[in-house]
Symmetry: C2
Subunit: 307 residues, 2 copies
């Protein structure tokens, strides 16, 4: 009894940016004719991209199939995301040459759409799914096994090699991102490319042969020199830049002494709970800032600080 | 205070198969000459593979550089795993034609090495790291971006394209594996290829745009028809067949009614705690079995049943 007692009905992962996806994927029913069959449904709607930008009509990112066709959408650049309550949902990458009437249709990169909450969480989640798939197709038009050009298959969830018959599936890269805690303080770092004053949780790609906990300990040690003991999973997040799964953890620092990886981090230091709260509230006396509202690092910091 | 209170000093992930890796990767210091520099160290030792098989001298999987050279190891098939207490650890895939004196050196596939505990947990973890990297190199000799042949770089942790300059990094596929719980019973399924009588936790690849919890709910619903509420992460496991990260969870079933995906599962049903314990102990009256000792599904089942 009570195996889930004390757990909230809605997990922290449900509240991170890009987690609002409600599309029903029906992954077991994807077939060779998935895209044409879906497009033939009157209720089919498209999410559309040109390059890195999402097409938006006000706050509405959905387009009818005839609109997608008119803008130059082609089947080879179209994926079937799944079904929403009222019909199939597809996504397509328009050619760079697509002419778009920017009086009527906005072109906005997905980070800006997300940080500005320019669409509903449901649409933002679907756009993350679509963007990750587009990014994958964009870098995987050739067979990594033999070098031949591959073709899109199974509604965009596979690419097939006509020469060596290899099948390739979308890639999702696990990244650990962690907040190390010791004596009521947390460890945050700054990369040079961060916006001025912003500090965030340390992070890095999980490597072959690692558990999540081992990756948390290795990355923290490599970047900050701080040894880590226990690790507690907190939340995960789809991160479509280009195709990651962020795995957010709190972890127990075993030392205060920092030895920063100077190539990776411009600064790395301990922050008190009061400082963390001020950074989250935007009231830090030195103008220091927490990560943006779409970053899981902010979720980790808020969960620890109560901010 | 007490953010980690109640957590064990050693997490469940540390006890799964393939989790014993103690190699220090020093990922931030990998360089173009990482492999030759490491081979030049007197304390360097190789893990060796021919095809799917590990080379073993009794329970010892380590070979000296001159032995690796003698067996035909080449630099293009060699990766630097990192450092153990007494020196660099490398891994190399021998050519299929490599002549091995099977009176002196055993050739055993990694699953058998693992289930038979034929090497120490430390070696088993290192072999998992090595095997996943070998599997990745084996399927990624060409650039997925342009089709050109790529070259190994950064100690085997990157492949570079000489034509389009793309850099490719080892892939690790996140898989969710979960034990659904309801009314003191757990949901287990059987795939046709399982050994007779074995039942295991449901599992599937996490897809682009999903959180871990969303993937657990989708996969369970698709395979069994059982809707899921809360999800609790339990442990993770490197799984080098060919290159996965198993993310093990317990989850809360919201219905008893099963509607099995017949293409995926031969059977799917609820098991009581007594049945689960008997399966773990090998004493189930119908001869039903829990997964093998190296499977994280067994860890999930044991944690729930107290077995």
């Amino acid at each position: 009894m009570g195996f889930f007692d004390g757990m909230p009905a809605v997990e922290p992962s449900a509240r991170v940016g890009f987690a609002g996806n409600r599309i029903e994927r029906r992954s077991e029913h994807r077939s060779a004719d998935a895209v044409p069959a879906a497009v033939g449904d009157d209720r089919a709607r498209f999410y559309l991209f040109r390059g890195d930008k999402v097409l938006l009509r006000g706050s509405d990112p959905l387009f009818e199939p005839r609109e997608a066709d008119g803008l130059g959408a082609v089947r080879d650049e179209t994926v079937l995301l799944g079904w929403a309550g009222d019909g199939p949902r597809l996504a397509s990458l328009l050619p760079d040459s697509a002419q778009i009437d920017e009086q009527r249709i906005g072109l906005v990169d997905l980070r800006t759409v997300a940080t500005g909450a320019m669409v509903t969480p449901e649409h933002l989640g679907a756009l993350a799914q679509a963007r990750a798939l587009m990014n994958w197709h964009g870098r995987h038009r050739f067979c990594s096994n033999c070098g031949a050009a591959t073709t899109i298959a199974n509604g965009g969830y596979r690419r097939d090699c006509p020469r060596c018959q290899a099948q390739h599936f979308p890639r999702t890269d696990p990244v650990v991102i962690m907040l190390a805690i010791r004596n009521e303080r947390v460890l945050l770092g700054r990369q040079r490319q961060f916006q001025p004053g912003m500090y965030s949780a340390l992070a890095g790609f999980l490597e072959p042969g690692e558990t999540i906990e081992d990756a948390v300990r290795r990355e923290t040690l490599e970047e900050s020199g701080v040894p880590i003991g226990r690790v507690r999973y907190h939340a995960s997040q789809p991160w479509p830049f280009p195709m990651s799964l962020m795995i957010g953890c709190h972890c127990e620092a075993l030392s205060d002494t920092i030895s920063r990886d100077e190539a990776e981090l411009e600064d790395c230091r301990w922050f008190t709970r009061d400082e963390a709260r001020a950074m989250l509230a935007g009231t830090h006396p030195d103008g220091l800032k927490a990560p943006t509202n779409i970053a899981i690092a902010r979720t980790l910091l808020a969960a620890w600080s109560g901010g």
